[in-house]
Symmetry: C2
Subunit: 352 residues, 2 copies
Amino acid sequence: MRKKQSIHDIAKELKVSAATISYVLNGKAREKRISTALEKKILNYVEKYNYRPNMLAKSLRIGKSKVIAMLVEGIDDPFFASITRIVEKEMSQKGYKTFFASTENDPMVTIELIKVFRDAQVDGFIIAPPPDIEDSLLSLIKDNIPLVLFDRYFPELETSNVMVDNFQGTYEAMQYFFKLNYKHIGFVTLDSSQIQMSERLKGYKKAMREKHLLTCIQKISFELRQEQKKITEIIKKFLAKNGHIEAVLFATNYLSISGLEAIRILKIKIPNDMAIIGFDDNTHFSLFTPTVTAIAQPVRELSDQIVKQLMVRLNGEGAQAPKKTIVLPTRLVVRESSIPTKMITNVQNISG
Amino acid sequence: MRKKQSIHDIAKELKVSAATISYVLNGKAREKRISTALEKKILNYVEKYNYRPNMLAKSLRIGKSKVIAMLVEGIDDPFFASITRIVEKEMSQKGYKTFFASTENDPMVTIELIKVFRDAQVDGFIIAPPPDIEDSLLSLIKDNIPLVLFDRYFPELETSNVMVDNFQGTYEAMQYFFKLNYKHIGFVTLDSSQIQMSERLKGYKKAMREKHLLTCIQKISFELRQEQKKITEIIKKFLAKNGHIEAVLFATNYLSISGLEAIRILKIKIPNDMAIIGFDDNTHFSLFTPTVTAIAQPVRELSDQIVKQLMVRLNGEGAQAPKKTIVLPTRLVVRESSIPTKMITNVQNISG
DNA sequence: TGAATTTGCTTAATCGGTTAAGTAAATTTA
DNA sequence: TAAATTTACTTAACCGATTAAGCAAATTCA
């Protein structure tokens, strides 16, 4: 077993100083007037023995790790999965590595993760924050650590945020339901005060109020988030109890999934017995029978903005730039689950 | 903006040496005979100012980072997503942080990732390796860096591996098809020489040969892995050309998805026109219409074994223990896609 | 009471890099 | 030809921790 070589080992081997090697490896040979001959010799050796500097030592010395931490609710959630993947790729092009972790939307877990990553001296954070972590975030802000929030944020904190217009998202979906002449429209959401959720709820409520319709809302406790079966059960009861509902809007990814499951159990036929729209699109929605209409978030644009905002914070000069909240529009992806068969012919007009 | 405190800043503040603080913080106060009074004082200060040691410095000094790297094909793949999540949780209970990255099953990407993580001095690796990275792995082995491969491995390399019995998985699925009296059974797989794939193919071939049936195989080029549409197109042509096929086995997650898409386009009815089984289960398979039969991998057990094997390598003493290849059985999860309606009544007997 | 031991710390080297400052030799300038 | 400058490096401090070794003061022992 070969022991890992340090820059000093190479220095000894080549009978030069460690500094010289460091300069060469960091492209400062010219600036520091290292002769071309010696530079070649060092580069050859490094190439031959495949030497790679210890990043811990380097980061410790220069005070930068070129690593950023990205905390999302769950890396296995399709929405977060695609965002993280794009962000990772873009950040790597900028010379940064991205490390991920799942918060489970749990404040304790998240606070601990932030600590761990701070201890590891990451250069910045991208966070889809759970509730009640204002203090942790505030401490990041105070210490001037580059930070971008996405998907949700705390209006009272001065941070850079990248969001979708959640209010407009549900509001537009409702207008679409109205065009299809639905009146008894249910809304299944989380019992959460997080801004993305409250905005979605507001969109639904405002739309219903404008049409003088009665709202019909099922809020699902946050603690159940891992227990698909229980959520399905609650939605089942909700739908069974409110037999008059003709259409349902699900406020988030996994509620849609559980909702579909519940509907299947109740043997309700989509879309003729009941129309469905889900917030957040899902790769598999086009494979379900019927395919599922969704309020899609512009994943690519969101990722681009996240990276852009973070880079502003990371670059010394721009770090003092004012913090921005970027709000992007959602897009309604119309599929079969929202269109009663009798209306299939004029779909084009409706979805436009 | 507060500047981050180092152990020396605290030392100055409290008029003690940095060593004393280090001992106290590492629970060596007794051993090093630090007085209880001073210990209290230090702990109070640390608590009050929320001091946390710089892990870069610590890791550099002690030569351990308590971080392990986990490289999978894609963190958004449902199979890998669930494994990573369990592994992360279990490793964190053992005091390790797990960092993830997607290899895209690309050798270049993976080789680079291994380098990056080695530079960052991670303590160990968990890898679902792409082809052609034997050299990178060999260098990890030579340097005695704890390593566990999973999902696939290189028989010629002496590594710890955690696998599923891929051969048996497809072989059993085939036996199940035979019981249902299917004879013209197709197999859609990747054009890959990776062991998990070749084993699945062998299972299919052996089963067909034993029944003296003609095989009917579609291999899909590996380069297309990101291009769902093209894969769907190929499968569509394959199925259209081989009209006699009564049942199809898809060798992997995303082939199943594309296959279902192709079948939908061809308006073939599952399961009556064609029966379907997919290798790898998927949370959404129970929501499709019809629900999809799958060869499920025991995700929990796989994760447990991965962690167990890695811990053996990580613990100095056991690091010399012989390397093992753990092989776990798959489980056939019978759903609607494989059972012709006429046979629904005797499902119990068949699936058992 | 003087020596030995114990107590309660501190000193200083170290991990593997980076980088400002220094220096001897070669070259140019005056 | 002596002084000034340039060349091509080296020296050594530093980043923030850990830890073996050291050492004065207090206590115990003989």
